[in-house]
Amino acid sequence: MQNTGTLIVKTSVILIFALLLFAPFLFQDVRSLEVAARICIFIVLVASFDLLIGYTGIVSFAHTMFFGFGAYGAAILLKTMGPGWTPVILGALAGVGVSLVFAIAIGLLSLRVKAIFFAMITLAAASVVLVLASQLSQITGGEDGIIYKAPDLFKPATKLLTDADGKVVRLWGVRLNGKLAAYYFVFFCALALFLVMLRFVGSPFGTVLKAIRENEARAEAIGYRVVAYRTAVFCLSATIASLAGTVYAVWLKYTGPDTALSFAIMIDILLMVVIGGMGTMWGAVIGAVLMILAQYYLRDLMGAASEAMTGIPLLPELLAPDRWLFWLGIIFILLVYFFPKGIAGTAMAWGEKA
């Protein structure tokens, strides 16, 4: 059953997908590509968080912790073993392994208890890991993080295609070099992970998750072991976040607390999930795109607006680029007020009532 709202949401998501697919050709500057890659990663991160909070009704504050495990896994091995695919793969596996150990331990110990207690446990675990990452500076680089090289394929100097003179081929003005390969690595990894999650939520397993969110006691009464399902989805979500972390680490060639572990990222994820709409994968896409675009471009936009208003009293002051966080806050409040179920959630509900 499709309604207009759902159609609009799905069309927007397909449009976003197309824009991201052709991003290197459409937006030919370094910063835009940076933004596009970040969007790809955060779509996966937010969607995997939504598996917990939106689909199953589990509140966790440890999502960046799992993201960090994946990122640090790849970073540490790329630093010690040098650039190559082996450290990336081993790093990904190590990140997933550590994530699973933490997820199973936290899950079995505390998924039986009340939601608020579980949330506190995840908060505690995430804090401990953050402190460890900044204290164990010999391994993690501490506050400074780790700088390393990505596999050779992704070096900007790598030529994917060369012409007769040995120069790198340009396609629509874009050099087919390692940077492009790195972007498509990020894009296709994110796409694959996102599609896997889409399969999850449409499967019988996904319907059980929704049942647990809706009525845990009844789900148990009709024969679903709620604790087992909760632990399973917590592990799945942790695994996907960890893999996203590895991919991001390969892209950035730098991993530190600010890019992979900080609570600022956790808050970003929460905001994206709320803005986009909980309980729908499409919401994760829309939330991540809007939030990241705002974070990167609201300042520029306000700078331009402020300049355009020179001469008018007060307005240029209000729109000064330094006040971008203030405006982001106002936009967020308005969004929550007018789209109580998030943008995707509210839009998809429009058609149903009509």
Binding site: S203, T207, K210, N215, A217, R218, E220, A221, R225
Partner: protein, 255 residues
Amino acid sequence: MPSPSLVTKDLTIRFGGHVAVNNVSCAFHPGELTVIVGPNGAGKTTYFNLISGQLTASSGSVLKDGTDITRMSPSARAHHGLGRAFQLTNLFPQLTVLENIRLAVQARSGDGWRMFRPVARMRALTQKAEHYLEATRLSGVAHQTAANLPHGDQRKLEVALLMAMEPDIYMFDEPTAGMSLDHAPDVLDLIAKIKADPTKTVLLVEHKMDVVRALADRIIVLHNGELLADGDPAEVMSSRIVRDVYLGTATEGAA
């Protein structure tokens, strides 16, 4: 008489100093519909909770076909063939009627752990769910969310959910509570159909005496957590004890 499908032996639960269910021993047989009556606070729902696993007994045991299920989780008991409907409507409110039923079908078939197959393509599940929708005359509202159904349909969905679990033992807790007179017969017809199957055991908590008369093969009376009377409906209904209980003159331990 066939061997009992469900037995409670000295079943007891205490909440602090209060004994809500006290040494209740009773056997239930396939093909039999037992109505459990008693005044409010007699321990009927608590007794149900002990059998279906929402509460765990302080002492005594519950046996299903001879297997001790006293300490099992509700989900494990469901897999042993116990199906329980609830007094207050207890559905998955934001899911559609079809999705509600499909969840029960899928719990029974054991497909809940399949993560990659789109549920929409698992025709067998949907067909089975549709079968139960038809049986409960809910096909017309299959795609409405459960929360948007009128109360009577929600009660029917409650029964449909139980039927889709295909249990051996059906436990109904005041299935017609809050239903209008013209809707109640729908639900009672469904229960009568289940009762007609000689392999099914039905337990029913009910207050309405006309319902009790129409359906009961046997009546047990709970009072202050104790089993006060057990027997043929006509006999129990006319006994002094029962009249005293409902008139409020019975004292503890009157049995």
